[in-house]
Amino acid sequence: MLRRLMLSPTLRPFLLIILLLVLWDLAIRIFSIPAYLIPRPEQVVGQLISEWSRLLNESWKTTQATLGGFALTILFGIPVAMVIAYSKLVESYVYPLLVFSQSIPKIAIAPLFVVWFGFGILPKIISAFLLGFFPVVVSTVMGFKSVEPDMLDLARSMGATRLQTFLKISLPHALPAIFSGLKVSITLAVVGAVVGEFVGSNSGIGYVLQVANGNFDLPLMFAALVVLSSIGVILFLAIDVVERLMIPWHASQRQLF
């Protein structure tokens, strides 16, 4: 029974986390690392417990900014990718520009968003959007372009309209690629939201991180990092669930099918 529990796939990551915590604790003891460099795990857990309601509150704000940016990513990224995939002309104009814009470090321009959009949630959303946008576009373009030419010829031979071809063939075909882009994008959107909170905000996990950093409150900082990663993991898993529901036929999902 215990053996079964230990081997269950959902529990495996947690087992690994416990193992890492033990190693972390051991390393601090063995190498006598001072607490101002790395806090001890129990200090971090202590902060997680005592600051629980504040961390929960701030993480909700970060989550909102992340989801806002992610919604923009879906709303703009997928249509832009579709246009790029369908038009060589648009691709030749837009794609290089996209790659160029992606190479700009977002942290460097994040302060500008504050100047433009104020201290509210908007600059955070924009920052989350900008970080999450690119992977979705790249994988969606790839998804739409990888439809076999024979498949398209077949549809044409049946007299399919462009809309029919899109709905019945291209879109379902592109979904697995779109989802893999969305999964990368959601974790980057979390980072984007935090970047937004770093530069101009008085709320969110990014703000907690910054305050903790200023006060040399390492346990709080680590606690905030744990919460932040948890947000990323939970959102990622949520997309994973949607993916399973939407593309049960895909090779990556077959064991569950």
């Binding site: 498949m151 031979s157 007299g159 399919a160 379902p172 075909h173 895909h250």
Partner: protein
Amino acid sequence: MLMPNAPLIEARGVTKIYQTKDGPVESLRSLDFSIRDGEFVSVVGPSGCGKSTLLKMVAGLLGVTAGSLTLAGQPIEGPQKDVGIVFQSAVLLAWRTVLDNILLQAEIRRMPKAEALAKAQKLIAMAGLEGFEGKYPWQLSGGMQQRASICRALLHDPSVLLMDEPFGALDALTREKMNLELQRIWLESKKTVLLITHSIPEAVFLSDRVIVMSERPSSIAAIYDIDLPRSRTLDMMGTPEFSVYAKKVRSHFYAQGSLDH
């Protein structure tokens, strides 16, 4: 409407030139042939000689550069209603079951649902796919996938079946089996079949006539009538008559190089 044995597909001086970045590429040069209603015709030729191009032009997926190509007396312009296509790979949709893949043809052509379903079930029975209607393509062997794609090509009851190396990806044993089944389907349905293949035995075994193409820019090197009785058996492949036909076809490729694929 058509006279018996009237030409169903007719090509007169059909030429295809592709416009590419590196300039025009002449793929087919002045083809003349005609295919009668109900006839089984194969096209063999070296790789890259324009066989797929020819098939796509007959399907109306590609325009001809010069010459005239007609189906039942009408010039072929744009995708044809009365044609079904089978490609080298089965091109089944991974997210649809076998039955739903076959019904794709009906959905896109907006055929009446009940009628299409009845027709699909008949074809499934004919192709020996009973019990697999609810399976997904990845659960099927290559041969079964290709049978499903043949069913899909026949769902709207076209008078012409176009096949582009349909069995090229199958192993030799499955291929022979599929050849037998294709002959049976053809004998039952009396469709006009244009089969592209790079297997000389396959072409001789199945066809009423074999069109042999030359290297690029390709034209028709020869057309052979295959006067072997129907229905043919695999054992006939060992007979002297069969060998004579195969040898005739093969001689073209030894003269010009090889049938590399």
